[in-house]
């Protein structure tokens, strides 16, 4: 079956974050899509299934019986050198946990969208980042998306990064559940021919082929295991440079680029900086503008990549800040937010020793308001270096709760 290549949409399409991911996946022409439905990811795979049904997308769409099988099937396909895509969320991501490590250890360049959603118990279908941050060490490149256009563009870029010969590491694209997955925005949809030119078919010598049979996914004992893991670690570190190159090339071709693993906003000369990730960056940016208009030297540092972790860029961007807050939608129970730990660890090696505060907010989809963010900056302005456990703030919590 041949599929007619779509031209660039003359007008931006008014689509949701989920649909933007689906468009990105469609334009990347994956050979195999294996997926299992879970709220709030479902629209991604519904659109892809519709396009397959309508003959607009030529792919093998596998209706698997679990998320574990979804990723397992993607690995099988990837082992033959096929381009593969899947999408999941929350409980599904954790049900995949074994396969996450398997895919990165096997160096299968799968691209997966994760709709960031709270974890049970208590059950909750709304957005927070507990799911993906719980699997931060699974060996996947982790990208956090702010808006629908970035979702489409990064799905395409994701394949270019994952499949790069020096990387060969799976990519997880994280979109805040509902806030981003279900919000409609105008999105520019590029022409298939332009995407094809940017993202040629995946070619790799590391695969099972009928011409040169090989064994994959094998066992390595104590004498060899470490060397494989060191290679894996070096490969994901190389993704930092590769992702930057891919983004610049994407910018040259499509007129949009996203500026690397971190995006500082008015951080130069800032006294107080709020570090955050995902869709909440929009409201933080607005707050920074309001505070700047009032003469407060506020800034924001948006993290786009959590793995590989942009330590150097973070230290550089925060070099002048007196106090730094980290706003995130998760907590590592018994300690602090996972992102805060990473940022604090990065700053421990820098000359600047800012006061640090961790704002844990938005759990289970609770709204993060402008007032909340202003309050965070107010706390940062008065912040002094605090003992460890006193640095964590649960935002907007009912004090009796």
């Amino acid at each position: 079956m041949s599929v007619e290549a779509t031209a660039r949409q003359p007008q931006p399409l008014f689509i949701s974050g989920n649909e933007a991911v689906a468009w990105g996946a469609r334009l990347a022409r994956p050979h195999v899509i294996a997926a299992y439905p879970i709220t709030p990811q479902t629209v991604v795979i519904e659109r892809l299934a519709e396009w397959v049904a309508e003959g607009k997308l030529d792919t093998e769409f596998l209706h698997v019986e679990s998320e574990h099988s979804a990723l397992s099937a993607c690995m099988g396909a990837s082992a033959l050198g096929a381009r593969t895509f899947t999408a999941t969320s929350s409980q599904g991501l954790l049900y995949m946990a074994e396969c996450l490590q398997y895919a990165s250890g096997g160096r299968f360049p799968i691209v997966m969208m994760n709709a960031n959603r709270a974890l049970a118990l208590p059950w909750n279908i709304y957005g927070d980042q507990q799911d993906s941050l719980a699997v931060l060490s699974s060996g996947w490149i982790q990208i956090y998306i702010e808006d629908a256009q970035e979702a489409l563009d990064m799905t395409i870029q994701g394949f270019a990064i994952a499949e790069h010969a020096e990387v060969l590491t799976p990519v997880m694209l994280n979109l805040d559940g509902f806030v981003l997955t279900h919000t409609y925005e105008p999105v520019d949809v590029p022409a298939q021919a332009d995407v094809d030119a940017f993202l040629p078919p995946f070619r790799t010598p590391s695969k099972m082929s009928l011409e040169a049979p090989t064994s994959m996914g094998f066992t390595a004992g104590p004498a060899h295991y470490t060397e494989f893991k060191v290679q894996q670690h070096r490969a994901i570190l190389r993704a930092e440079r590769v992702a930057s190159d891919v983004d610049q090339e994407f910018g040259r071709r499509f007129g949009r680029s996203y500026g690397g693993a971190v995006v500082p906003y008015r951080c130069e000369g800032a006294d107080v900086v709020l570090v955050t990730l995902g869709s909440v960056a929009g409201i933080v940016r607005e707050t920074v503008d309001r505070l700047r208009a009032r003469g407060v030297a506020a800034g924001m540092l948006k993290l786009r990549f959590m793995r590989p972790f942009p330590e150097r860029e973070i230290v550089q961007a925060l070099s002048t800040a007196r106090s730094v807050g980290v706003l995130e939608k998760d907590v590592s129970f018994g300690h602090q937010g996972a992102v805060f730990s990473e940022v604090a660890s990065a700053l421990a090696g820098s000359a600047a020793r800012p006061a640090l505060l961790n704002f844990v907010a938005g759990l289970g989809g609770r709204d993060i308001s402008r007032d909340d963010v202003e309050q965070m900056f107010a706390e940062l302005q008065g912040a002094t270096v605090q003992p460890l456990r006193e640095r964590v703030r649960f935002v907007g919590v009912n004090s009796n709760g």
């Binding site: 050979h31 195999v32 294996a34 792919t59 093998e60 596998l62 209706h63 698997v64 019986e65 679990s66 574990h68 099988s69 979804a70 397992s72 099937a73 993607c74 690995m75 099988g76 396909a77 990837s78 082992a79 033959l80 050198g81 096929a82 593969t84 074994e98 396969c99 398997y102 099972m208 082929s209 009928l210 049979p213 090989t214 064994s215 994959m216 996914g217 094998f218 066992t219 390595a220 004992g221 060899h224």
Partner: protein, 304 residues
Amino acid sequence: MAEAARLKLALSDDELFLGHKACAGCGGSLAVRLALKVLGERTFAVLPAGCMSAVGFLYPQLAFGCNAIISTFAGTASMMSGIAAAARALKLRDYHVVGFAGDGGTADIGLQALSGAIDRRENFIYICYDNEAYMNTGVQKSGLTPFGARTTTSPVGRQAAGARSRKKDIFEIVAAHGIDYAATASVAHAHDFIRKVERARTTVGTSFLHVLAPCPTGWGIETSETLEVARGAVDCGVWILAEYEAGHYRINKTPRRFKPVADHLATQKRFAHLGKADVAVIEKERDSRWARLRRLAGEASARR
């Protein structure tokens, strides 16, 4: 005869599974070796965590002559599905996708993925080599451990006398999906097994083979007794050679008279503790299974 000649031609002298570290007398490795002789070099083999992956994939000593990959324990059928999908998408020609999973990897942890794959009618051959316990981890009870068998997790003590559950009937579970082809087999009946692999090879859609593969270590038999004991299971009727195809069951071998179950059990240390009452339970289960399968196969009243 004509069929035998044809099958002989289908068998290769090439060894596609050699230099592995399986124990002497391993029934599982025999099943893998024979099946690959039928399927040939243009095969993608998937093996989950288990005996055959443990003995065949220790880097840098890799024992498969065809493409082969270890899947997650639960993921044999799902990884096979991905390989089959990629092979279609990449327009490969003239190849087979085969899985070799043990009893636990099939009937316990891998059952969900197997069920989904049969439901999708994936074009592949799934071979369960059944040594009736988790042998790779040191003989623990699985869903296919037979009644009465001693394992390290179904030990014999004052309160217990080996496994108390009946063996899941994975052949009928698979057949109930309406699979394209399913069969039981035994490493002791090599010709029958080879014929069934050949049948699976030419089947369009999903095939499932359930092959009895004794484990000397776990069963408490001599390494030279693997085939004898496997044959004994068929002769006393506790293992039935059968097929399911296009909605029909067929029994391939009906002993004129069952040999005594007690004699068969006595060959294996794992059953050494069983008394007459336990043997009676096993005989009753055997008889009801034969009656059911004969009914399904449309045969007349049971013969003894």
